[in-house]
Symmetry: C2
Subunit: 144 residues, 2 copies
DNA sequence: CCCTCATCTTGACCGAGTCCAGAAAACTGA
DNA sequence: TCAGTTTTCTGGACTCGGTCAAGATGAGGG
């Protein structure tokens, strides 16, 4: 089981104990990018049989703290997780159905990281969310 | 009472009926930019005496729908409101204390509105949040 | 193999925000 | 000014994502 081995190595590299729930949740995040907690709980249960909601919350926080997953929470949506970390990429969100897609940074690694007036803040990240309508929803509303 | 008159005119211009709670809430948003709902409820009550939580929620939604206020909700924070609308400006948020400041768009009106790959989405807004540490918190952690 | 501590389970809990139905107030036209 | 109509306000129950707490379990170092 190569994939499982890779997941376990990932956990060990982050100095996290390798447990059933952690492997299952991390696999679920890899398999379902931008999924919400509920979907991840379902996916983890499909893998393991039974996992408590609490365990999944704990695991997700541990993984996020360790930098193995990234938590994103667009306005008006529940928290979502993705396993693509390290590269500074952004997201485009559909106002209608809430779908999310990755968008590579258009400018450079530090996109618009330079604010025109930073008020003395020490800025370490620029998060960009593009709001719009996804092709499917655009087609629906166009057809309606 | 010039200020009150201006607020009332603003409401009328948006075709909203002028009521006590609306005036009070809109004044509160003007007076406390980036305040959360609780703070706005307090401010409105200081103005009017008594207003229900529900009324404030309704008013805020009505004002937001009418475009008189803008709702922003940074990750890990409650919803906040600001009265600066129409210009596409962004925000810088302190990771430590949650303070928010306005930041004018560095590039043009349509900042990084052009994503490198839009996945077919019809994009209408780019929302940028700069995460960092505010001067006060930087001083605190530096001193600690 | 054992011990210790991180982790998992269960279940209660919290707080932001919403829904509902009735009461009250603000615009409208005469 | 007054009745009619429509919108808004109140109060309270409710939903739902997420957290807290305490005890049981099991991973992994010695």
């Amino acid at each position: 089981m190569t994939e499982r081995g890779r997941i376990e190595a990932e956990l060990r590299a982050a100095r996290l104990r390798v447990t059933g729930p952690r492997v299952a949740v991390l696999r679920a995040v890899h398999a379902h990018p931008h999924a919400g907690t509920d979907a991840l709980i379902d996916a983890a249960r499909a893998d393991l049989g039974e996992v408590s909601k609490q365990a999944v919350y704990d695991v997700l926080r541990a993984l996020a703290d360790a930098g193995l997953v990234r938590r994103i929470e667009p306005s008006g949506s529940v928290a979502r997780y993705e396993s693509r970390v390290g590269d500074n990429h952004h997201h485009v969100v559909c106002r209608t159905c809430g779908a999310i897609e990755d968008v590579d940074c258009a400018v450079s690694h530090t996109p618009c990281l330079t604010a025109s007036e930073d008020h003395g803040y020490r800025i370490d990240e620029a998060e960009v969310v593009y709001w719009g309508t996804c092709p499917a929803c655009a087609a629906d509303s166009g057809a309606a």
